[in-house]
């Protein structure tokens, strides 16, 4: 068997987890991109044959543990997100960068909506539309990060 360098996926997931619990000034908390969601979108679009909803679900559970959220919140949100990615990856590969950016906005938006729904279920105060900020910042981050990830994954021949 050839080496497939799957460890790189783990490294990126770990990095995303670190970034998502990194302390930020209180005023900036709403603008933190959904790093883990971005990483999951990236890997599922790159390797739709081998990674699926299960992968996203596990990563989501890890994120729940790391952030101290209600268990299952991110698992559910990322699972749904992975499902949409799997349905559409053939089309989204043909998207130009601007379309991709908007598509990421929609995906992370769905992720945020599910998170917000669990929040309100848990009896926390529901904010206004501010909960969509991470979707915007994530979409803007997408074209900056994916070329690097793509190149590194290509060089390491992650399969």
């Amino acid at each position: 068997m050839e080496p497939n360098n799957r460890w790189f996926i783990g490294v990126t997931v770990l990095l995303a987890l670190l970034l998502s619990v990194m302390p930020l000034p209180y005023q900036w908390l709403w603008f933190r991109p959904a790093f883990v969601a971005l990483i999951v979108i990236f890997w599922i679009n790159r390797m739709p044959q081998s990674l699926g909803v299960g992968f996203a679900w596990l990563v989501g559970l890890l994120e729940d543990f790391a952030t101290g959220a209600v268990l299952g919140t991110h698992a559910l949100a990322l699972g749904a997100l992975a499902y949409f990615c799997l349905l559409t990856y053939r089309r989204t590969r043909a998207f130009n960068p601007a379309q991709q950016l908007m598509w990421v906005f929609v995906l992370v938006g769905i992720h945020q909506v599910i998170g917000n729904w669990v929040h309100s279920l848990a009896g926390k105060p529901v904010p206004g539309l501010v909960f969509l900020w991470p979707a915007l910042t994530s979409a803007l981050l997408w074209p900056l990060v994916t070329p690097w990830l793509d190149r590194t994954a290509g060089r390491l021949q992650v399969r």
Partner: protein, 264 residues
Amino acid sequence: MLGLVAAALIVVNIYTDWLQPVRDRVASFVAPLYWLTDAPGRVGEWAGEQLRTREEIEEENSRLRRQVLLLEQRSQLLASVKAENTQLKELMNSAETVDERVLVAQIIGVSPDPLEHVLVIDKGRNHGIRLGTPIMDASGLLGQVIETGPSASRVLLITDPSHALPVQVLRNSVRAVAEGTGDLYRLKLRHVANTSDVREGDLLLSSGLGGRFPAGYPVGEIMSVERDPGKAFADVEVQPRGRMNRSRFVLAVMSEREDRGGTE
């Protein structure tokens, strides 16, 4: 299928506390994450310490010496007052006072969720921290421990919207309940009658009712009182004394008495 499992997890997690043991177990793996993300800040602090000039340090040293002198004088005064107080209490046959032990902990993380005010500190069960241990800083109460791991725990701040604590006005011992608002610089008093005697600038202390927090620690200062005759209760806003956003070191107050619930 996995979606169902996740939904079930969510429901179980929200409506029961069956998953608490799992969370406690995992907490020890999660703590290093927070510790790592905090590392740059610590390096910066360390560099700041190392790269100071001699004059600065000397100046600080003399300032601290003056402060120590002042505090020593005050604590001497306090010792005699304390002795007198216990004597008087003995005379009145009232309940014995509890001596409290204090542990210094460092904040290593903040909850990434903007909707909840939770800190992660670097002390846990191994250091004697329990669920409900009150946490404070030099100027006032900060919150209480809601999750403990072996060497890290999570602290719910009193400004979190799901938190409420019983307080008392220092001036005249009017009792009230201070609720978090989700704003780091604001608490609200619940159910304060329009006619009750609270004023702007009043200092609020924890009252010790409810048994979670020890009595007599400063909680906040009343910022504004709005009495609207059309409403049943006055709108009272409180500025917390503890520096929710800026403390680096906090104190965990460990009381010697084991259970403090019940009749208190």
